[in-house]
């Protein structure tokens, strides 16, 4: 199996998360989006988790800390917004795959996906709004 692998080889489905789809342009775009946003999240999400657990302790985190320390500058607001964009793309497209794997009844599937997309838009609005409008006492934004 090892040495026979070349450019034209049909890779065993055992190893793959999900084979790159063929035929549907939309599915190919989703497939790439999952991988690009996944790579972004490898950096952004792990950094975010590390900063807020290892550098700052959750015990010291209050609304005041977020407004006046954590989000006291443009960089960290932009960082967290980029994280939010990637996590929404990746998370909702991921759950979309789960839904299409398990929900087969046509009406129910459409309804579930509609609910899913609606909540994605809602979270996008809520998250973006709080990042853009939360005032910092020191005025940086």
């Amino acid at each position: 199996m090892a040495t026979e692998a070349d450019k034209s080889v049909q890779v065993s489905p055992v190893s793959r998360g999900r084979m790159r789809p063929r035929g549907s342009r939309r599915e190919v775009i989703v497939w790439y989006t999952m991988r690009v946003s996944g790579l972004m999240l490898f950096v952004l999400a792990l950094a975010h988790f590390s900063i807020l657990h290892f550098i700052y302790d959750p015990g010291a985190q209050t609304a005041d800390f977020i407004a006046n320390q954590r989000w006291n500058n443009f960089f960290w607001r932009a960082f967290d917004w980029l994280l939010l964009m990637n996590v929404l793309l990746h998370g909702f497209l991921g759950v979309r795959t789960v839904v299409t794997d398990y929900v087969h009844r046509p009406g129910l599937r459409e309804a579930t996906l509609l609910l899913l997309y609606t909540s994605a838009v809602l979270l996008f609005i809520i998250g973006t709004q709080v990042i853009l409008t939360l005032p910092s006492a020191t005025g940086a934004q």
Binding site: M1, V11, V14, F49, G94
Partner: protein
Amino acid sequence: MIRLPNQLRYRPREGMIAWAFHRISGIGIFAFVLLHVLDIYLVGGNPKLYDEVLAFYSSIPGRFLEVLLGAALLYHSLNGLRIIIIDLWPRMTAYQRVLWWATWVIFIVAGVPGAIIILRPVWLPILQQLGLG
């Protein structure tokens, strides 16, 4: 081999377990992201309630949940990277089992110290009681 319920059976051996864990951790992280966007909204909308939510996050049970979240995040990240490596360089398929075990080595090496730090309020008082802190 570990037996999984039918909904999670799909691919044999390491690949199947990697896939099942990926799906479970993904759904877990997704659920937390929903909660997290809503809780961060409270910073502006209801700061008092936000402080109460954070007080739970930093409580002892909350910290165990955070370790669980961190574990899901770390596993999902590492396994995702493994998937991307194999997707981009199909020849790596030959080493997929090595990559799988490398995932777990990195998971333990990075995860255990992380868990120890997050759980500090659990073990520090015990050390102090024993007169070691």
